[in-house]
């Protein structure tokens, strides 16, 4: 193999084009820097890749995919090409005794093409957990440091919501929320009776036109890709303004392999595999922003070993790969007889929940530390393959009776998804597998995972709460979980909620963290890690909004450093 060197030197090279990489590309190019953006996947082309407004019967497989693959856990045909649990030729390993799933999106925009657009701010207390309850560590930044950047992100991408003054769920800059669906009015009523908070949700979907993007047209299909760009994705919202500056060079199909360090101890280049030609290429830059997603970024640092950095780049503390966190997830659902009587009506709305349950027990002592929020939804959605499995199992039989039962029960279910904070523990981490490489020759990750009691108690509380709510609403709770077994109280396996963070964490001290509060490596001043890897804790807030706010802040700092000449010539 021939190593080719590109003579050009950029101001900044960003690795990854998702929530973090896209934000960095926008802020840095608009700040006047020349940026190369590496993305491991192909470009996304809405006109080709999006399946908005298609009916199942317009597709030969009715949306289930070849061989009804969607029934076996593959993505359905409707989804935009936005990620997968398994990528051919790019394996990862779970250590014996550990179960961990890793969802990766190899495409411009990364996992912002896939996420639920749930855009929640972390609360002041979420940044100072150790001060509050003695567990884990405080962040080197406070809510007040990050709040101006939450403002900037929300104003630019558009988030709907309402001002509620809830200490666990700070208000932001909000567009008006959509009206509640029937399922939401029923749950809201029950929650009011139980003194559980239930408020309009906060999603990065436009309910009014903003910055040239039209308002959402309420087809409920964000996951299929939004041809009007009314929901947020990095590919449709962050990358285009960066391209418009003329200072962005996008390089797709580029799998970063190693950050190459110069004699001065700074990163000089990134070495990547050009997937199309299977050749090794290099990009030189004055500074590097690593934003490949938490585990991918840790992998790149751990694979960047040199005499100066024998344990991996920016890893003198040994924390790279450690403190891996996901979100505590446990789901439940119920049947609501009153929904049988609803007349047929359009129940679609935006692509996600119009209301949600923020953490409400912050004012009392609970069986566990920290908290969770709850997402919920159901009702009269577009029928899809496997939607009627439970009905078939319950009713059995056949004929007109089965047909009528399906009609009667259609749209009468509401599901709940608890999303809670996990406290990092020494049993959850990723490292380089000693044996395996991917098809590009790059050593792969091996994951270790074990939930602690705090998370399991939280999952138990979720199950008890959802039963209470369903019963208070006059429904029947259908979910059965057990305290034992591989999934106590329905707790999902590590990685399944797709909120991995913490693997290159920031902190005050170089001995116990890899980055400072600006996502800049303690050990390597021209290296920034801006994705979820930099998180110190994983609050019950979905991480994407915070990733963008922290990246925006880090990018402004980087611009400032560049102006001062601190990045070198």
């Amino acid at each position: 193999m021939q190593v080719q060197r590109t003579p050009k030197r950029y101001d900044v090279c960003i690795i990854g084009s998702g929530a973090s990489g896209g934000t960095a590309a926008k802020v840095l190019t608009e700040g006047g820097l020349n940026v190369a953006l590496l993305e491991a996947g192909p470009p996304i082309v809405p006109a080709r890749d999006y399946k908005e407004h298609v009916w199942p019967y317009e597709l030969p497989h009715r949306g289930a995919g070849v061989g009804a693959g969607a029934r076996q856990g593959a993505g359905d045909e409707f989804m935009a090409p936005n990620g997968a649990w398994e990528i051919e030729g790019e394996p990862y390993v779970a250590a014996p005794g550990s179960r961990f799933r890793w969802f990766r999106s190899r495409i411009v925009g990364g996992r912002t093409n896939h996420w639920g657009r749930i855009a929640l701010r972390m609360a002041p207390v979420d940044f100072k957990v150790r001060t509050h309850d003695g567990m884990g560590d405080d962040w080197p930044v406070s809510y007040d440091d990050v709040a101006p950047y939450y403002d900037k992100v929300e104003s630019f991408i558009g988030v709907f919501g309402t001002k509620e003054n809830i200490p666990s769920a700070p208000d932001g800059i909000f567009l008006p929320p959509p009206r509640p669906r029937c399922t939401e009015t029923i749950i809201k009523k029950a929650c009011d009776r139980l003194s559980i908070l239930c408020v309009p949700s906060r999603l990065a979907i436009l309910t009014k036109p903003l910055n040239g993007r039209p308002a959402c047209h309420n087809c409920a299909q964000c996951g299929r890709g939004c041809i009007t760009a009314s929901n947020f994705s990095s590919s449709q919202v962050m990358i285009p303004p960066a391209e418009k500056t003329g200072r962005l060079t996008m390089i797709t199909g580029a799998m970063a392999r190693e950050l190459v360090v110069g004699k001065d101890g700074k990163v000089a280049a990134v070495s990547y595999i050009d997937k199309a030609t299977r050749t090794e290429q290099r990009i030189h830059a004055r500074a590097f922003v690593v934003a490949g997603s938490a585990c991918e970024s840790a992998r790149l640092l751990l694979n960047s070993k040199s005499t100066l950095f024998p344990d991996g780049l920016a890893n003198s503390s040994g924390v790279v790969g450690r403190n891996l966190m996901d979100t505590v997830g446990s789901d439940g659902g119920g049947y609501f007889p009153q929904l049988e009587k609803m007349p047929a009506h359009n129940h679609d709305g935006v692509g996600g929940m119009h209301m949600y349950l923020p953490w409400w027990k912050f004012d009392r002592k609970n069986d566990f530390l920290r908290g969770y929020h709850t997402e919920f939804g159901g009702g009269r959605g577009m029928p899809g393959v496997s939607d009627f499995d439970d009905l078939c199992d319950d009713y059995e039989g056949y004929g007109v009776g089965l047909k009528r039962e399906a009609k009667k029960k259609y749209g009468t279910y509401i599901g709940f998804a608890g999303r809670g904070e996990m406290i990092p523990n020494e049993n959850c981490y990723c490292e380089i597998d000693p044996a395996a490489v991917d098809q590009w020759g790059i050593p792969v990750l091996r994951f270790h995972w074990k939930w602690s009691d705090n998370e399991i108690k939280m999952a138990k509380d979720m199950q008890e709460t959802y039963r209470q709510i369903v019963e208070a609403a006059g429904g029947v709770y259908l979910t059965k979980t057990s305290p034992d077994g591989p999934h106590p109280y329905g707790i999902a396996d590590g990685g399944v909620i797709i909120h991995e963070v913490g693997t290159v964490r920031m902190g005050e001290h170089a001995a116990t963290s890899a980055l400072n509060g600006y996502c800049q490596a303690h050990d390597v001043k021209n290296l920034f890690v801006t994705d979820g890897a930099c998180f110190v804790t994983n609050a019950d807030k979905n991480p994407t909004l915070t990733i963008m706010a922290l990246t925006w802040r880090a990018s402004e700092y980087l611009l400032d450093e560049a102006k001062k000449g601190n990045l070198g010539a």
């Binding site: 809405p46 499995d389 089965l402 749209g411």
Partner: protein, 194 residues
Amino acid sequence: MSITRRDILKSLTLTAMSGSVLRVIPLEAAEMAHRMVKAEKAAANQVYAPKFFSAHAYKMLQSLCQTIIPADEEAKGAIEAGAPEFIDLITSENKEYQVMLGGGLMWLDNTCIDRYGNAYLDCTAAQQKEILDLIAYRKNAKSDPALGQGIEFFGWLRKLTADGFFTSEIGISYLGYIGNTFVAEFPGCPPVPE
């Protein structure tokens, strides 16, 4: 209007490629593209030739699908909804389904020959009802373990028939799903009956 789908897709691609600030296309163009896809599909309508099942097995499949979800005064049944075509297509691509459904149909024929001296389709309506009533309920495996395989087969066929029926235009309209369209402002919930 003489604009073609190709023109629209081309213009969409150009918008995306020409470095416009936002990769946004007008709502009208998007909706028209969707409608044209639908019209093309309708024009291509033709008689279905099974990809996996033999002529005999496919006839059986059609009969079973229509028995599982028959036509009634409210809506047509599984055959009109295209359920057998859907099941044949996914089975042709899935080895597990080939064994489960292909083998299941043979199990049903074999069992009917043992019990009634005729293959399923040659049995009387009463005999067909009798065997289906046995394999349609899991509890029957307790009194007669020899029904276990039939019950497993029928359970799967019921789910796949429901898939095929309820994802069809007929099935979706029967359920009363309204949506998948442009709604400028979401109207919220009509009053919920107590």
